[in-house]
């Protein structure tokens, strides 16, 4: 999208809500929905990348040294990464009130 979603007027929306440009999902900042987030314990992480593979939002980023962390804009806190982690190095920590 050429501008943020909350700046579109009704006249500017393509007919039937059709999306003509690619990449519009970037505007869906679903990280706002999160009530918990994953935290990696690096001492137990074998850098296998299973968490990166299974994340349904592609919201896990690989860091330069091969470890992983979440992208807070898109991580919904679903916990799939923590459940699938081979060594159990990911904990889901509740968001602070």
């Amino acid at each position: 999208m050429s501008k943020p979603m909350d700046q579109y007027t009704w006249q500017e929306i393509a007919i039937g809500g059709i999306l003509i440009e690619p990449g519009s999902a970037r505007e869906y900042r679903v990280g706002d929905w999160r009530s918990q987030h994953p935290v990696w314990t690096k001492s137990r992480c074998i850098r296998c990348g299973v968490c990166w593979t299974v994340c349904p939002e592609a919201a896990i980023l690989e860091e330069p040294e091969g470890y992983f962390d979440m992208n807070p804009t898109y991580c919904k806190g679903c916990g799939t990464c923590a459940r699938e982690c081979v060594t159990g190095c990911i904990s889901m920590i509740p968001e602070e009130e």
């Binding site: 909350d6 579109y8 929306i13 393509a14 039937g16 809500g17 999306l19």
Partner: protein, 391 residues
């Protein structure tokens, strides 16, 4: 231009779809709509109509398949009734929100329960807010004409909305009438091939049916509301163009002997012809009564209705469905809303008649007029009247 035939109205409707050169049809049989799609399936099987006929296991799937073929850019048709329309319910809103110009005939029938296969308008009134264009017809010729015109209205790029043509179940769908069938050449000239604004095409990919976050949903709904309201102008234009072709001119609100009428009946669908007989007889007896026929239900023709009713003292709105637990039937509620901001307005009374196939004769309308005049004089004793109920 055309030729006159004696034909069952359902078969005439299926010929209208054939003449419109529908390219995709997905439907499930349901009384009293069945003859329409049954005959269409024969036309396709016999090679008389070059269309994809998709047999499905339910009406939910029928309309879902129609959304698919319409998204692919095909001129798409379906038909249903009553429980079938109810089973389509969630897809009805999606078809209109995605702005697919699907044309559907609804052979109006009572909703269960109790189980009843006969005619009233409870099916379509329950689907009032689906965001489709909704038109009512009075006889077989109108059912034929409006089915052809519906494609031209729906597919207009200024409209792009699905359109329902309502015809009364059995009373119209199963009756043999004398009517004029237009020639293919004339229909082709009137209704060129459908050119979709967007369609599913790998060469020009788009996303259809994406979700809308709270930041967008309101704006998408506003665009839909404006499109449906503004469809009025194109509907009237298409009806005018068709009048030049057929000699039959249709209006959003039609008047019958309204000049000088102090009392007006308001009806929809096939009951309008019955009401005309009652009006003729009452006029002969010196009662200043007239008839207003509501053809266009969505978008609602506010200005036409106000103009048609101007000068009358009493307006009797005949509903063929109930809004149980509410103030009045759905048409009565709409009409009363239409007049609320108007300084000079008639007294408006609502009468529910002809539910679940209960016969409505000219005598019924005469009794309604006479009772309504009494009630209007004494002050209404009820919010609305369920006319003819025993006990």
């Amino acid at each position: 231009m055309g030729h006159r035939v004696g034909m069952e109205v359902s078969i005439a409707v299926s010929h209208a779809v054939q003449l419109a050169r529908a390219e995709a049809i997905a439907a499930y049989p349901i009384t009293p709509q069945t003859h329409i799609v049954e005959h269409l399936s024969s036309l396709v099987a016999n090679g008389e109509l070059d269309a994809e006929f998709i047999t499905v296991e339910s009406e939910h799937s029928a309309l879902s398949a129609c959304i698919g073929t319409s998204a692919a850019g095909a001129r798409t048709y379906t038909a249903t009734s009553s429980q079938g329309l109810a089973l389509m319910f969630e897809i009805l809103f999606i078809a209109s929100a995605m702005r697919f110009p699907i044309v559907m005939n609804v052979a109006n029938r009572a909703l269960s329960g109790p189980l009843n296969i006969w005619n009233d308008h409870s099916d379509i009134m329950a689907a009032r807010d689906i965001g489709w264009i909704q038109i009512f017809v009075e006889n077989g010729q109108e059912a034929f004409d409006h089915t052809i015109m519906a494609f031209k209205i729906a597919e207009n790029h200024k409209v792009l909305l699905p359109t329902i043509v309502n015809l009364d179940g059995f009373i119209l769908s199963h009756v043999v009438e004398a009517l004029e069938i237009l020639d293919q050449e004339a229909v082709d000239k009137f209704l060129p091939a459908y050119h979709p604004r967007y369609r599913l095409d790998p060469k020009e990919p788009v996303t259809m049916g994406a979700f809308a976050m709270p930041e967008m949903y309101t704006e998408v709904k506003m665009a839909h509301q404006v499109a449906l309201t503004n469809a009025y102008d194109q509907i009237v234009k298409v009806w005018e163009e068709y009048a030049k072709l057929s000699g039959r001119q249709y209006q959003p609100v039609e008047r019958y002997k309204t000049k000088g009428a102090k009392v007006l009946l308001l009806t929809m669908g096939s009951l309008s012809e019955v009401a005309e007989i009652a009006v003729d007889e009452l006029r002969e007896a010196g009662v200043p009564v007239g008839l207003v026929k509501l053809r266009l239900w969505r978008p609602f023709p506010f200005a036409d209705l106000r103009a048609a009713v101007a000068g009358a003292e009493l307006l009797i709105v005949c509903d063929r469905a109930l809004s149980l637990g509410g103030a009045a039937g759905p048409v009565m509620a709409e009409v009363r809303s239409a007049f609320y901001p108007v300084a000079s307005q008639p007294q408006i009374l609502g009468y529910a008649i002809g539910l679940g196939g209960r016969d409505v004769s000219p005598q019924t309308f005469k009794e309604v007029v006479s009772q309504a005049q009494r009630e209007a004089q004494q002050g209404p004793s009820q919010e609305f009247y369920l006319f003819g109920v025993r006990g």
